[in-house]
Symmetry: C2
Subunit: 875 residues, 2 copies
Amino acid sequence: MNKFVYSFNEGSKDMKGLLGGKGANLAEMTRIGLPVPFGFTVTTEACNRYLEEGNELADDVVSEIYEKLTELEQVSGKTFGDIENPLLVSVRSGAVVSMPGMMDTILNLGLNDESVVGLAKLTENERFAYDSYRRFIQMFGDVVMEISKSKFDKIFNAQKEKAGAEFDVDLTTDDLKEIIVGYKALVKEELGRNFPQTPKGQLMEAIMAVFRSWNNKRAILYRKINDIPSEYGTAVNVQSMVFGNMGDTSGTGVAFTRSPVNGENKIFGEFLVNAQGEDVVAGIRTPQPITEMAIAFPEVYKKFEDISNILENHYHDMQDMEFTVEKNNLFMLQTRNGKRTAEAAVKLAVDFVNEELIDKETAISRVEPAQIEQLLHPKFDENEEKLAKLLGTGLAASPGAATGNIYFNAEDAKEAVDRGEQTILVRQETSPEDLAGMLIAEGILTARGGMTSHAAVVARGMGKCCVSGCSAAIIDETGKTMLLNGETFNEGDKISLNGTSGNVYEGMIKTVFPELSGDFGTIMKWSDEIRTMKVRANADNPRDAKQAVDFGAEGIGLCRTEHMFFEAERIPAIRRMILADSLKERKDALDALLPYQKKDFYEIFKVMGVRPVTIRLLDPPLNEFLPKTEADTMQLSKEFNMPFEKLINKAEELNEQNPMLGHRGCRIAISYPEIAEMQVEAIITAAIEVKEETGLNIVPEIMIPLVGIQNELKNVKETVIKTIDKCFKTMGNKVDYKIGTMIEIPRAALLADKIAEDAEFFSFGTNDLTQMTFGFSRDDTAGLIKEYIEDGVLDADPFQTIDQEGIGKLVKMGVELGKKTRPNIKLGVCGEHGGDPKSIEFFNKVGLNYVSCSPFRVPIARISAAQATIKNRKK
Amino acid sequence: MNKFVYSFNEGSKDMKGLLGGKGANLAEMTRIGLPVPFGFTVTTEACNRYLEEGNELADDVVSEIYEKLTELEQVSGKTFGDIENPLLVSVRSGAVVSMPGMMDTILNLGLNDESVVGLAKLTENERFAYDSYRRFIQMFGDVVMEISKSKFDKIFNAQKEKAGAEFDVDLTTDDLKEIIVGYKALVKEELGRNFPQTPKGQLMEAIMAVFRSWNNKRAILYRKINDIPSEYGTAVNVQSMVFGNMGDTSGTGVAFTRSPVNGENKIFGEFLVNAQGEDVVAGIRTPQPITEMAIAFPEVYKKFEDISNILENHYHDMQDMEFTVEKNNLFMLQTRNGKRTAEAAVKLAVDFVNEELIDKETAISRVEPAQIEQLLHPKFDENEEKLAKLLGTGLAASPGAATGNIYFNAEDAKEAVDRGEQTILVRQETSPEDLAGMLIAEGILTARGGMTSHAAVVARGMGKCCVSGCSAAIIDETGKTMLLNGETFNEGDKISLNGTSGNVYEGMIKTVFPELSGDFGTIMKWSDEIRTMKVRANADNPRDAKQAVDFGAEGIGLCRTEHMFFEAERIPAIRRMILADSLKERKDALDALLPYQKKDFYEIFKVMGVRPVTIRLLDPPLNEFLPKTEADTMQLSKEFNMPFEKLINKAEELNEQNPMLGHRGCRIAISYPEIAEMQVEAIITAAIEVKEETGLNIVPEIMIPLVGIQNELKNVKETVIKTIDKCFKTMGNKVDYKIGTMIEIPRAALLADKIAEDAEFFSFGTNDLTQMTFGFSRDDTAGLIKEYIEDGVLDADPFQTIDQEGIGKLVKMGVELGKKTRPNIKLGVCGEHGGDPKSIEFFNKVGLNYVSCSPFRVPIARISAAQATIKNRKK
């Protein structure tokens, strides 16, 4: 026969599935001899059975509870409902995974008209006893009996008025007794029955209420979002009460074995003399630092320190503990692994290894990669941020903090920076033309665009703070004003952006730069030892390349060549190329671009040395390079001495209904092979020059984008190889090279076996793959995806974390088919997902050789890759 | 040992693979005793061996040829190179499949300085003999020896000048002799050797030249486009010459056993007295109808008639024959199955079955579905079209012929029609606002947009003539002018469109309406008996539904509900719905639409009866319903008494970068469930009313579009079912119904097992599936796809014929996964491919239950489905 109830001395920490986290740890503490008020746990199986049997508690479960209750009475020497020495218990839910939304705690259960007298005696405080009873009825009535809280409040407030009491504490014991009469009448009226006077009845109702709360709406939503199976169920812990409010030799507190803020090896916590846990939560009194406890209760504190050490040594992790002191006796009420900041997480992980409590793998697994990001970006001074005026919230597009004067275009921002100002670039949405402004601004704010809009992607790539899609902001770029939160902001006005939360504030807020501490470096080193997948960075220029190497990148996985074209001295040449009427004109324009491109690659190769560099041939539709406004077009018309009409017609001709599915990527190289020829010439001649100068083996990887058809790849590859051979001849020297392709069109993944015939490497472009496979334009559907997540249609934004079920299936097909044709094919990913921990775990599992992400995410990727290796090993 | 050369009496028609089509048929005719000049065939295997061995003719092949040549000399009683009675032969290529681009025919091979004398004697025409020799050298020099034709021309023209000859025929025998001297000198100079005087040498060179021509560029391209394996190789036929130019008892001709134009059972062909085949081709003399032959050569004609009958009975198909009469002796030079018009194809197929020459399956297989289209649309009077002035050519977007006065917007066109004019709607490109104009115009001409642009798709759906993407036309919609071919056309000017060729003509051309003859009906009936796949139509209104049923549709596979909204009386309501500030306002606007929608469905159900009707919920992005121009917006602002600003802002808000990947399909139903509720209410209440009135079992199929995520389907399905249950209650009656989804997002196909949990049917939307899986916007990439086909990157336009390798793989996955979850799931396709024969064959193979296409393609789909069944059965 199954056992549904366990006394605390029957369980252990390994029984979390059955006893829940709280119950298992209470049993464990009991097992290793720590002072825990006795009690028992009703299991998660009992919960599941209750729910399965239509919210009925089976007779055998009830009997078991009664048995354990009798045992509890014997152990405590108290009796449920006794007028002299009543047993009072707390009833707490305890799921396997800590989970908000469920019924949490009922204290002092067992109070009734008789035992309240016993409580008064025990606590030597009659008022407290009746106030507790009043609170217990109210809480039980609200939570267990589901009577609206406002009805209780009405009775309470009426009594206050009647008694002329300004504050709750002004009520006398008699007032409280009157309130209790009123509460009981309310229960009778609402439910047609008396408030349960038998403690056993109270207990059964409370246990069932906890079970039912497993299926309340908030709990279901939380489980859904956090992928917690609904079959887990919750356990219920019934524990005899101890009282921290029995005078100055009593108290209650919460503490961590070490600092959760910075990891310092010193007990960290708060303590309140003569108080129950509830008082701390209620915020009526301000708790004291735990150090005060050492002064007030030196003996007890010593004991607590010992227990703290025992627990840490036992659990091999920093613990978050709850305790109560009853008349100089210490009781432990809870222990669990403590939450911690990134800084603390890193220090704790390293310290625990040094103290030989855990091994390196465990240390790495304990650092949350997403948290690491906090260590890499400037942030606001916490106190200043709290006081600042919030204007609105957009998407937390690129983390960090930025503060400065707003400007509405790149030029104005640049002038301001030249004057020595800190600036924030404010745009409706950004386009490649804004790059120069983005580069020099502290942060970027846009009114439109999602997490993967141009602004967001580029900002993350630059490691620059960005709040995108702040739709409440009405931005007039021409008039240079922003209307937000009912206020109008003009050029030069000060605002602050929190790219980690999406908040926009008025005025300047002090920013602080966290240091990459030595422990952080240690964790990175260990991660590198363990991980099997390489980490590269997406970098388009020598500066980013340098940053990437500094952060530990082992190569460049994506060097976009188009950003290079937007610089002021180059854009005229690319425009001339686009506007050319003949092949000759186009080639002349390309010849003008060649030295610039060559210099770009020369410098990048210099930085990267033997590290591989994957260079993608021109990708965006050509019209991205043409001016967007009529005024700019007019300007260009003058500059180039070309009829305005002609420019407009060309723009019209190039304009597309759905540019995402239009004339871009390899399609451009097929229509205009001369563009690819120029780029390849720049790559190869630069590589040869660097090789000759440094003697290093420079091996450029040339990547052909947006391939969906085998012949597309064949066609462009032929152009590339022809050009390379020409360069070898001209230079009288050679370099090794690789030619590969992006897998970003669904068809390419489906036919990866064919594509692999001509590709030495695949780089999965999961951004576009996600766009096309879902049919989601990332520029247009940010709002829809948010709606979907809220409605539970999607669990997560597929542009942030790879959709394993759908996109993942395509990636797996791509990997398997690719390897079938070419077993040693090099496989990587260069989409946004390359820097996302969950996605990295997936990429590791399907066998990619590397991930590539923005330089600022490289450390996150390194640790994520190590964690993925550890997880895979375990499986 | 392999045999590489076959005499005509050694082969048969079943040896096409070895002897090529021409050789096999020559052997067959020989075998069944028809008069064929004797000869032999060098096999395709010899060709392959020649090419494999580095263009060397192996010794044993040469010996075999010599052996057969000796046999030929014996049979003919003539000797190669003889001065008295020389053997002359024709050398012709003959691949398995008739294939242009290769070297075709060399006549009179065997001529040299001596045998030319013999030819003069034989033909009793010295001038002819030398002219033949001159031509032979020139042809051989050009084709076999690869000496530029212009060099021969130079010599020839010089002699003409010297002789003062205006025309070629003015040259005397001596002139020709001088030319021959010049030609031979040219050969010597170019190749350093004499023109081959031994006929055997000539023959070997000619055979090898044919073999080599298998791999010339044009031939390779043709094979690639037509999927002909390059391993086939070509055979070479060597046949002793007969002479149709031996005076008035000789002649040559080409004839069909029955009319290839209308199928009439009467010999159809042309004949030329005293002529060689070459003369007919050269067009120097106009051939006479074959009936003249009956008068000129009654005996021979009688014999020819007999042979014609024999051949037809033997081949069980209409034959295309070449023959020569030499001095009243009839010789057959070729026979093959004749090409035919659609009209003839249908009549021949039916007649052959009636004559018990073939069975019904063979009859069906012989009708080319693509041709059938010719029978369904009006066409131009052929002679008038030939004489008309061609202005330009666009894409043949929707077949048929249209002629009328041009108008530049729907309103003007409508007014003109009201005045009694025939109109052509001319637009830059069309949008749903032009629907009314498209409906009443004879044809549509657009300057932009591909084969699957709005104009093309809608026009095909309407069975209306359309030429799209005529990029040479510069259309000023505001100024109401079109500049084309250097001419300016104004409103009311007359043009004519050929939607089958894409040609645009000046002026009016007479159109004729072909009749659906009884034979056509018979073929359709037989097709319906054989095919296993159902054929439905895409129809959005009762008129199209009626047309579809008339053409044999067995249901509606796609009823788009959005077109209904564009009608003048409805568009204000839909606009109010979009512009609503509250749910209440939106619901009010929807309430106004409800009666219209209900009426639509009521009428469609009335037409369709028990035939299934699949209705798709609102699909396009909402901004398609808002006015496009500022003027129209201003107008709406007045009409609705709404600030212009507000309208502009709303339009801005709804505007998308990539609408194809934006907020449309089921995404709209999730954001605004009230829209789906209104549509479902209209569908269900209409169905119940028709059921009650007619007693018929109306079973609407409600289709949820653009599903990519299982939860999207679940979400909308819940809305649909709730509404249905509400309607059942309100109406006090029920109908059966089905709920299903489109599979048009790649992710839906990948996860079809999940999607099938909530879908009773799948309709593959292969248009969108192609767009997203290829990453091709159909509005933007028409030009690119054309370029790709020209460059050989693509074999065919994937929007016209399904890409089996890629999109087909997804469809197959969708089918298999869908059936895994729900074995009896109903599977169909409603994209453009549903009317394409090749695609239909594929859909039949993967096991779809039905295809749905535009009403005018229903007959094509019916016969294609039957052919697919027959093909599958054979496998």
